[in-house]
């Protein structure tokens, strides 16, 4: 037990927690924006898979990681356009169409992987980028400032998202479209346009989350279904976060730190079945969600409701 409290193990735990939180931050913040505008995008997992494959394939073929990332952005944008078309223009039931987008992403990423690469290959992904001076801060320096740049970008997106949603005209439009699209429409705001923009940005962020799972790793590889459910956890985190970027940060860190903790508690062999630590992140998240009744915030009023001018649903 004592070796668990060694500095290297604790530092490793915290560093891993930040690393594990990164895809949840990208995907969760993107999903939050989409839901704020009134569109539930359950296809996040599938879009992550598309982003994971496309970024890896393009980076592998071109030898340029940034080109891979750009390809993920474009692919995410296309998937966002598709999602918005189905949900906003065609007014499909969002839960069902989201599952369709997930299955499409799962199938396409696997199919294209087979057609283009055929077998698992590896390459160097983005390396660690230690930030001068900040990296020397005790504990915090190694945990926060000795990661790769995608981790920093994900962390920076939290205050940026908060500022966009609460301090800009665009954020006000997004919130009004998500809360009362008819009122927004009467004020001349294009509900369709705002929702398209939010879904596309959210999907691009989901795709970048997927790219983090491949080229965001020092040793990069793509395998089928690499997201392994992380997209669905990101959707759940938005509810946990009460549609607030700071809540997404808290939820992502809570889940990931406990996950990093359970990976380490297993190896000190304290005589409990391994299934219990494996369940721990989910149990704690559910308990925190259930107990956080104070200040409960309901979701955007128009969430999942298609907008039809003059028809109130």
């Amino acid at each position: 037990m004592s070796e668990f409290f060694q500095a290297t193990v604790i530092l490793g735990l915290l560093t891993a927690g930040v690393r594990l939180a990164t895809p949840f931050l990208f995907a969760g913040l993107g999903e939050m924006l989409s839901q704020r505008s009134g569109v539930l995008n359950l296809g996040v997992e599938g879009i992550m898979l598309i982003g994971a494959f496309v970024s890896f394939y393009v980076a592998f073929e071109s030898g340029n990681l940034y080109l891979g990332l750009l390809a993920a952005v474009l692919a995410g944008g296309f998937m966002g356009l598709l999602t918005a078309f189905v949900s906003v223009t065609m007014k499909a039931v969002q839960g069902i169409s989201g599952i369709g987008i997930h299955i499409l992403g799962l199938g396409l990423s696997g199919l294209f992987f087979r057609l283009t690469m055929g077998s698992i290959s590896t390459m160097r992904g983005f390396p660690r980028l230690a930030i001068p001076i900040l990296k020397d801060i005790p504990v915090l320096g190694r945990v926060l400032f000795n990661q790769n740049w995608m981790v920093y970008a994900a962390l920076l997106l939290v205050p940026i998202s908060w500022a966009v949603i609460y301090k800009t005209t665009f954020g006000l439009k997004v919130r009004s479209v998500g809360e009362n699209p008819h009122a927004a429409d009467s004020l001349g705001i294009s509900v369709t346009r705002v929702r398209y923009i939010c879904v596309i940005i959210g999907s691009i962020m989901a795709s970048i989350a997927g790219a983090f799972l491949t080229i965001g790793q020092h040793e990069a590889a793509f395998v089928n279904n690499i997201a392994a459910g992380r997209g669905f956890i990101a959707v759940a985190l938005v509810y946990f976060a009460k549609w607030n970027p700071l809540g997404v940060l808290a939820g992502a860190f809570l889940f990931s730190m406990i996950d990093a903790f359970q990976l380490r508690i297993q190896i000190i062999d304290i005589g409990i079945p391994y299934e219990i630590p494996v369940m721990l992140p989910y149990i704690v998240t559910i308990v925190v969600l259930a107990l956080s009744t104070r200040g409960r915030v309901l979701g955007p009023t128009a969430l999942t409701k298609p907008f039809v001018r003059g028809v109130h649903t």
Binding site: G12, A16, R114, I120, A221, N224, A228, D259, L263, Q266
Partner: protein, 332 residues
């Protein structure tokens, strides 16, 4: 609404037409030996599924493409979905149906009872019937030898096992590895942990990182998730990996010392020969060191890490394990 219904009817009729045409094409080549393969993960997972897929392919290549063919249903970890695929292959007239996972036992037994002329096979398993082969890789044998060798090679005196779930092939492998370490030096610490998933590579990578943080310098593990763990190992200098299922050294040539590779080709060939001779099942096919269905493949790039005298000792031990002079216990 009427248009929608009409469109759907047209689509259904078209689909039915395609099925009929497909079946007709099938019947035209009825003398071809047809092998149906159900895999829990992708056929390119560099692990359990890929090994069997390549094994069946090799047998078909030996027989000649006109004499045999294979159809594959992959990424079916769920036994209920697999059951539907097994029955579908049987209905289509496939001669040999291989459900490559221990989780498929119940649906396979159920379907096999309805198709006594078809050969069914599954593993890791022990349940057989008149038309069912079970195959059983003795994963613990190579694992014991790797555990022994890892114990000789470790500098930190800490080793790590990145497991998927505590069941089937994984538990046999881990059990053997730990016995091998204990046989060499009981004071060496083996960290054993499980991700709870067969296919979550990112989680396996983080688990391997956790082992490395805890000073493990040689790691091992099983299932298709190990690709992630191998990534973590190859990111750290002086950390190495012992692989299982197939020769995984191309994944990380500077990190994988050796692989325990199952020779599925010989297993499938045995089942095909038996089927053609009229024996449809009723036997447990063991993969072990004596029948050479398990091969220990050393990575030539890292052979320098294993001195000649250590390799000589290893070979003696291997002969003892293969002959049964050294008994490797299985979990009770």
């Amino acid at each position: 609404m009427k248009k929608l219904l009409l469109s759907m009817m047209v689509l259904v009729l078209l689909a039915a037409g395609l099925v009929v045409v497909g079946c007709a094409a099938e019947e035209a080549q009825d003398d071809t030996l047809k092998i149906g393969l159900i895999l829990p993960s992708g056929r390119d997972d560099m692990s359990w599924s890929q090994g069997m897929y390549e094994g069946v392919n090799a047998v078909i290549a030996n027989m000649g493409a006109g004499n045999a063919r294979m159809a594959v249903t992959e990424n079916v970890p769920n036994p209920v979905d697999a059951g539907a695929a097994i029955r579908d292959y049987a209905n289509q007239g496939f001669n040999i149906i291989i459900a490559h996972g221990s989780q498929y036992q119940n649906p396979l037994m159920e379907v096999a009872a309805d198709f006594p002329e078809v050969t069914f096979a599954h593993g890791t398993a022990f349940e057989t019937a008149q038309n069912i082969f079970a195959y059983d890789p003795q994963a613990q044998l190579g694992a014991y030898l790797f555990g022994w060798l890892a114990a000789q090679m470790t500098e930190s005196q800490v080793l790590g096992i990145v497991g998927p779930v505590r069941a089937g092939d994984a538990i046999k492998y881990n059990y053997g590895f730990i016995q091998g370490v204990e046989a060499a030096d009981p004071s060496i610490r083996v960290l054993e942990s499980y991700t709870g998933s067969f296919g979550d590579n990112i989680q396996a990578k983080e688990m391997a990182e956790a082992h490395i943080n805890a000073r493990a310098d040689i790691l091992t593990g099983t299932a298709q998730q190990v690709v992630g763990a191998i990534q973590a190992v190859s990111e750290n200098d002086g950390v190495y990996w012992f692989a299982n299922d197939t020769d995984q050294s191309p994944l990380a040539p500077n990190s994988i010392i050796a692989s325990q590779a199952y020779s599925w080709e010989t297993v499938v060939q045995y089942m095909v020969d038996s089927h053609m001779a009229g024996k449809l099942g009723g036997e447990i096919i063991s993969l072990d060191l004596t029948n050479e269905r398990i091969q220990l493949v050393f990575n030539p790039v890292l052979m320098d890490l294993v001195p000649a005298d250590l390799m000589a000792e290893f070979e003696v031990l291997k002969a003892d394990v293969a002959s049964g002079a050294i008994q490797v216990r299985l979990p009770e």
